[in-house]
Symmetry: C2
Subunit: 376 residues, 2 copies
């Protein structure tokens, strides 16, 4: 099948010199994957890595598309879920890729969400010290965030994403049709990262989302537009600071609080998923910035009001079950971020779309803020 | 202790832009490690990775030197031997490095030979997507070869070094005193790689070695000179082609035959060690080049005569035990190198110091040559 590109399709080019690549965003891209890969790259073998939830939905279509384009593939179906980002599964993936005799110009293809993308990208970065890597993200979160930018990795008992490499993909195919199969909760969680790009440095985009979020949720061109704008925003940050020596940290807006909440709920997705933690975290970051007299409290209220409107959690109290005391949350923050002489690096804001990296936030201020927001 | 640099000490600078580093070569460098690191870099924590053979000899001196320079260290002592280059041990090392709370500017220090260097360097390349890495090589082989150039990795059941990253060290401290504790066989095996640099593109160095090898084996300034020249030669090749897209393959002179012999002896070091395989392989590469009418048979004889003089193996028949037939050796070569349409990439030569990368060597010619050299 040689399906034709939709008129709605968008392309974002990530200009990273010899590591430059395209992100294609639109409907029907899985059915066209083989053609898109074969027209850009020269490998003729692929190892497709996916999980047990995604495989029944899209694996066959992807393999057929590769085959039609002359790309032979081996497949590996892993358990779904965050626990798959482990050393054991990394070894399994590497073994599969070697068994498939993937050479430097052949492909590892990640078909799935962030877990599959991060794990497969890591394997692609280390087998033969680097083979080609194609991302076919199947969640909104991975389409707008993890599939772009080259961060790959696995978790350790010491924390999340502590072991990995920077390995940019050679192509990202974000098929927007797959988003129709996401649950409303999954879609909303991904949407938190979309809103984040507006809050970092695109106030107009945030205003557009406030006006058009229902169209984005409904699908069609507004959704493609929102994803493309998000990918472009992430690309801009990554190109300016590929290996996170400075400004790339802006992408962590809302994530310091969010990660602490994920840790405090033991990464139990029945209580909190990543995007929900980020949603609450972004509200907290705006409220904390207001408390530090950096931004108006009106901005924090505006952020909360929008995230609430789309159905996201915005308050710690909304998380099901009991949260540990503020001191424990503060410990999680200190583990996530290095504390130097009582000071933390934090993403703060001067208002909607005016976020910045603050390197000298007093840990004591964060703790009193948390105690205020989450009294025992 | 703040020992003073020996007047004999040599420095080779590897000019890789933001990944540039120094290789120091001379006596007493382990005792001065702390000072050398602290004067160049700013991390104040280290995870020292070593093996059970090396630890009793040098670990305490290294730790004391770090401590005196204000660098706190955790240590991990692994089993000695090639089997340590595994996923399991990689996980152990990463875990230790994280447990020691090594941050991006802190160090993983490899104290040992090639196995420890390759494994620790890989861990340094992936923990937090890359922390600083210092090599303290304790074998001649690792001082002149594996500690320089940034190739790191582990073995897989599909083959050696198939999983890894390019991660350049930030400093290499080649303490030549440690070479006095090597067995004669180990020293000779490392010497094969020294001779290799002459044979690649330094005919004058090869002639110098023919005249001075006894002084190199005896120690002192001739040995330091030989190691520095080797490091400089490797640095030149690496700088020209860091990620092995072309000319870096020259470093494989003698290695295609050598790897096949290592595989054929099941990596049993009682029969053959890497440097011995390379020694036989270099003689075979020169003989094969003569057979292809590229070089004079006199050159092959000259190479063999020198390697024999230092006590290295130069003939397949000298390997203890029975070798498999030529066809099996040929299979091992085909697994090591990709065969495209019956053609192999091989390092051949037009004479002493005139090696080149040949991309179109007929596999059939290699097989008949092997049958001739190794009749059943």
């Amino acid at each position: 099948m040689n399906a034709i590109a939709s008129a709605f399709e968008r392309k974002v080019h990530v200009p990273l010199g010899e590591r430059a690549y395209d992100i294609l965003i639109g409907p029907g891209l899985i059915a066209r994957a083989g053609t898109e890969i074969a027209s850009r790259l020269k490998g003729r073998k692929a190892a497709v890595i996916t999980d047990e939830h995604v495989a029944p939905l899209y694996l066959e279509a992807l393999i057929q598309s590769l085959e039609a384009a002359g790309i032979a593939s081996a497949t590996l179906v892993l358990p779904a879920g965050e626990k798959t980002k482990s050393f054991e599964h990394l070894m399994t993936v590497c073994d599969k890729v070697l068994e498939a005799r993937i050479e430097r110009n052949d492909y590892v293809i990640a078909l799935g969400g962030g877990v599959i993308g991060d794990l497969s990208g890591f394997a692609a970065g280390i087998v033969r010290r680097g083979v080609r890597f194609v991302q076919v993200p199947t969640s909104l979160l991975s389409q707008v965030d993890s599939s772009v930018g080259g961060k790959t990795g696995i978790n350790s008992r010491h924390g999340k994403n502590l072991v990995g490499v920077f390995h940019q993909p050679d192509l990202v195919l974000a098929d927007t049709d797959v988003l129709n199969s996401l649950s409303a909760r999954e879609f909303r969680a991904g949407y938190a990262e979309v809103a984040k790009y507006g809050l970092i440095d695109k106030p107009d985009f945030f205003a557009w989302l406030e006006a058009n979020w229902q169209a984005v949720f409904a699908g069609g061109i507004a959704r493609i537009e929102a994803i493309a704008t998000s990918c472009q925003a992430k690309s801009d940050v990554v190109v300016a600071d590929e290996r996170e020596t400075g400004q790339r940290a802006l992408l962590n807006l809302g994530h310091t609080f969010g990660h602490a909440l994920e840790a405090a709920t033991a990464y139990d997705s029945s209580r909190l998923v990543h995007g929900e933690g980020v949603s609450i975290g972004m509200v907290l970051a705006h409220e904390f910035s207001a408390r530090m007299n950096l931004a108006s409290p009106d901005d924090a209220r505006r952020v909360e009001s929008h995230l609430k409107a789309v159905g996201l959690l915005t308050r710690m109290a909304e998380i099901p079950g009991t949260l540990p005391p503020a001191e424990v949350l503060m410990d999680a923050i200190a583990q996530d971020k290095k504390v130097k002489g009582g000071k933390l690096t934090f993403i703060l804001t001067r208002g909607i779309g005016q976020s910045f990296v603050a390197n000298d936030v007093p840990a004591s201020e964060v703790l009193s803020f948390l105690k205020e927001k989450h009294p025992q």
